[in-house]
Symmetry: C2
Subunit: 123 residues, 2 copies
C-alpha cells in the first residue's frame, strides 16, 4: 500500500507484524550514488521524518535502516521499528528468527498519516 507520494518519491508499507516502511524514488536507480544529488538530500529528509515519527509513535528499542535490492536492483530504503521482544531481536529481521511474532497494540494507520502530513509540511 502506498502511504505517501510526491513528485519524486513514494513510501510503501511492508506487510509485517512490525512497523516497517520502504522509501522509493519514482525513477528507478540501481544504487544510492546513481540518484541525482538534490534528490539524495530529499531522500534523507524524508527518511529522517519517517524515523522521527516512528520513534515518537512506537517508542521502539531501535530503528533499523537498510538498502539491499539484490533481487531487483532498484534502490529503496527500509525503515523498521525494532523491539527487544520482537521475533528476530537482536538479529536483523533478515536473520534468524528467535521467538514468536510480536503483537504491536498501536494502530499503524495514524503513523502512516503522520508521516504523510509531516513530509507535506516541509514541502
Amino acid at each position: 500500500m502506498i502511504i505517501f507520494e510526491n513528485e519524486h518519491f513514494y513510501i510503501e508499507d511492508e506487510p509485517s507484524s512490525l512497523p516497517w516502511v520502504k522509501i522509493f524514488t519514482k525513477i528507478p536507480y540501481k544504487e544510492l550514488t546513481d540518484i541525482p544529488k538534490e534528490l539524495r538530500v530529499q531522500l534523507w529528509e524524508i527518511y529522517y521524518i519517517v524515523e522521527e515519527e516512528m520513534r515518537s509513535y512506537f517508542q521502539p528499542t531501535k530503528i533499523n535502516m537498510a538498502s539491499f535490492a539484490n533481487m531487483l536492483p532498484r534502490v529503496h530504503i527500509h525503515v523498521i521499528a525494532r523491539f527487544e521482544d520482537d521475533a528476530y531481536f537482536p538479529n536483523p529481521v533478515w536473520g534468524e528468527k528467535l521467538r514468536q511474532e510480536k503483537t504491536i497494540s498501536k494502530d499503524f494507520k495514524p503513523f502512516y498519516e503522520r508521516i504523510a502530513k509531516k513530509i507535506k509540511e516541509t514541502q
Copy 2:
C-alpha cells in the same frame, strides 16, 4: 582496523571475505536522527565516497547498506559489496548462507587507501 579517521568520523573494515566497511561517528549516537544535522550531511558525503570507490574498484553486482546496532545501540553504517556468486546472494549477509565464501582476487588495501585519499580531498 581503522582505515580512515577525521575529527568527527572513522571507518573500520569488517573481517569478511567480502569488501565491507563500517562508518562510525566519533561521538556515539543511538539513531541517525540523534546525529546533529551538519554531521548527518558529512556522514552521507563519506558514505557516497565509500560507495563510489567500492563500485569502481570491485565492480560488485550490488551495494548493500545498513544501520542496525541492535546489540549495542551506537549507530553506524555498513557498506558491503555484493556479488551474484557470493555466499549469501541474493540474501542480505545477515540472512541464510546459500553457498561457499567467495574469494575476491583483488587486494582490499588499495581500496581502503583510495577511500581515505578521496575523503581527505573533499575536506
